[in-house]
């Protein structure tokens, strides 16, 4: 099977590469994403997670290395533009990701008109359909972002990314700003959407508990390099790199965790 996205030997240096101030954000990193799977990228701030994701979608260009889409090397601007029809990005902060003066309906319809996906008359129907899919009432289309809660806004961001029916969704820390109960709602939505639509998800997070819950495979990043990768279960049960071990040990409550949930609502 060919991966949908295959980023090979990516190196990214910010600043002139010979300058003493050049910052090496990524060093020979390779990541691939297969159809229908959820890939986690985990690491601390500054480990290069977001830079990697931005290169995978072409917002940032790599200093060295190549990105392949379905086995084809992406070279021209047209290649990248076509990629972005298929790969969508959801940002961490839904407050800044949505235009404050644009009504939700218009924000959701915009990608359709930019990429000339469907006739204008059908857009409204597609918008209400998508709002329902992410668990919001179609009436929300008339509202402005300020009239929504954080969780609702993140649902709208997800809906907007899904408007073009992408095959890959890149989610950059999308639940970090949310309360636990809202976070659980959004995570559950992602699991359901993936089941319905069969999309692949690249899930970037610093929270190992969320990664463990959601991802099939995981890449652990440290200082611009992938230090460990593989299936989520084995990595969490038996980490081999010292950095992964440290990360796991510093999770709050790790020492007190119980392997089986003891809490049950009795009704």
């Amino acid at each position: 099977m060919t991966p949908i996205i295959d980023a090979k030997n990516i190196t990214k240096v910010f600043g002139a590469s010979r300058s003493p101030h050049a910052a090496r954000a990524l060093n020979d990193v390779s990541v691939d994403v297969y159809p229908g799977e959820t890939v986690g990228v985990v690491g601390e701030s500054g480990s290069g997670k977001t830079t990697l994701a931005r290169i995978m979608i072409g917002i940032e260009s790599a200093t060295k290395g190549q990105v392949y889409k379905d086995g084809h090397l992406l070279e021209s601007r047209v290649d990248w533009r076509n990629l972005r029809l298929n790969v969508q990005y959801v940002f961490q902060d839904p407050f800044t990701a949505l235009c404050p003066t644009m009504r939700i309906g218009a924000a959701l319809a915009e990608p359709l008109s930019v990429h000339k996906k469907c006739p204008a008359s059908e857009r409204l129907g597609r918008v209400s359909e998508m709002l329902k899919k992410v668990g919001l009432h179609p009436d929300m289309a008339r509202r402005l972002p300020v009239q929504l809660s954080g969780g609702q806004r993140q649902r709208v961001s997800l809906a907007r990314a899904l408007m073009l029916e992408p095959s890959v969704l890149i989610c950059d820390e999308i639940v970090s700003g949310l309360d636990v109960s809202v976070q659980a709602q959004v995570l559950q939505l992602l699991v359901d959407l993936q089941k319905d639509l069969g999309i692949s998800i690249v899930f970037i997070s610093h929270d190992l508990r969320v990664i463990r819950y959601l991802c099939d495979r995981v890449y652990v990043m440290y200082k611009g390099e992938v230090v460990e990768q593989g299936k989520t279960g084995p990595i969490f049960e038996n980490p081999s790199h010292q950095y992964t071990k440290n990360l796991l040990a510093s999770i709050p409550g790790a020492r007190h965790d119980k392997s089986t949930p003891v809490v049950q609502v009795t009704s």
Binding site: G253, D257, P261
Partner: protein, 331 residues
């Protein structure tokens, strides 16, 4: 002998709104002993930050604080005037805020900021204040404290800035530190270091600590007592381990089931609490959680506010369902 530094009974915070006062914090009672910690947990809007602000006399806007008692080491916080507050705030009770970047002045060196605080509260020379600043930076975990004095906040990483904020809180030797989501913006490994530091300070200096968080996993790391807040009301209160091992309020249970642990996978899905918390002023006469509660008793939970029921030693819950089950009475 336990040294109870803070004892609060039935504290409320209200804001004037259309048609009367809107209650944001509803009759909260809590206490902290020297060298012990209290964790306040809850989601955005549950009133946890408002409690902290009320304890420092910095409730924003037209908020009104009332209560039966707010005793702070022999003083009644309810009766303090602005001058009285100035002698308590920052000096006896200090606060560490969530965002250290916003808490520090970007144009002034770390040293000057700490020295300014010391000289505001204590009568001393600049060099004495400087020595005191170095000491508090050392307490906050800097290995070369004297060299930090001339640095600007922008030269420091997030974790180091939070240590400076802790040094600022420590510099006047307070008896109570309130940390409001002080580690929420930090990476897990740095968060773990800050938590260890807070524990050391508590043991070494006999500090009392109020730690506000939305992360129940983190609450277990802090230890002490745990107060769970929902929509401005206390729903469960008790020793952290007792509450986490034996959560008795449906909201506490819901919070625990919503949060992924290191062992949760998609095969045993998270159970999000349905719906959203009520807006202030829209809570009826019943239990605040009734609208989202999976085990609400019709005709009871939506009518009257629950009172405290004992779960275990020092562990109480405000829930009609729990009380009814405990009595063994039929519904």
């Amino acid at each position: 002998m336990v040294d109870r530094v803070l004892n609060v009974e039935d504290m409320s915070v209200k804001y004037p709104g259309r048609g009367g006062l809107i209650t944001v914090v509803d009759q909260v009672s809590l206490s902290v002993d020297a060298g012990k910690s209290l964790v306040i947990a809850g989601e955005s809007g549950s009133g946890k930050s408002m409690i902290c602000q009320a304890l420092l006399g910095i409730v924003p806007g037209a908020g009104q604080v009332s209560g039966t008692r707010m005793d702070w080491r022999g003083k009644n916080l309810l009766e303090l005037d602005e001058a009285g507050w100035r002698s308590v705030r920052g000096s006896e009770i200090a606060m560490v805020f969530q965002d250290p970047t916003a808490a520090l002045n970007p144009l002034i060196t770390v040293g000057s900021q700490i020295i300014d605080v010391i000289r505001t509260h204590r009568r001393c020379s600049r060099s004495e204040a400087k020595n005191r600043a170095i000491e508090s930076l050392e307490l906050a975990g800097f290995s070369e404290p004297a060299q930090q004095l001339r640095r600007y906040p922008s030269e420091l990483s997030g974790g180091m800035r939070q240590r400076v904020a802790i040094a600022l809180a420590l510099c006047c030797e307070p008896s109570l530190i309130i940390a409001d989501e002080a580690t929420s913006n930090l990476d897990v490994s740095i968060q773990a270091k800050i938590v260890t530091l807070l524990h050391e300070l508590k043991d070494k200096l006999g500090l009392a600590l109020i730690f506000v968080t939305h992360d129940l996993g983190l609450a277990s790391e802090i230890g002490g007592d745990l107060l769970v807040m929902y929509a401005g009301s206390m729903v469960e209160y008790g020793p952290v381990q007792s509450v986490l091992d034996n959560p008795s309020h449906p909201y506490t249970i819901g919070l625990l089931q919503s949060a992924p642990t290191l062992h949760s996978t998609r095969d045993n899905p998270l159970k999000p609490i349905p719906g959203q918390p009520p807006r202030p002023g829209t809570i009826g006469t019943g239990a605040p959680f009734v609208e989202r509660c999976p085990v609400a008793v019709q005709g009871v939970c939506d009518r009257k506010r629950p009172t405290w029921t004992r779960v275990g030693a020092g562990h109480q819950v405000a829930c009609h369902r729990f009380a009814l089950d405990k009595e063994g009475g039929s519904l």
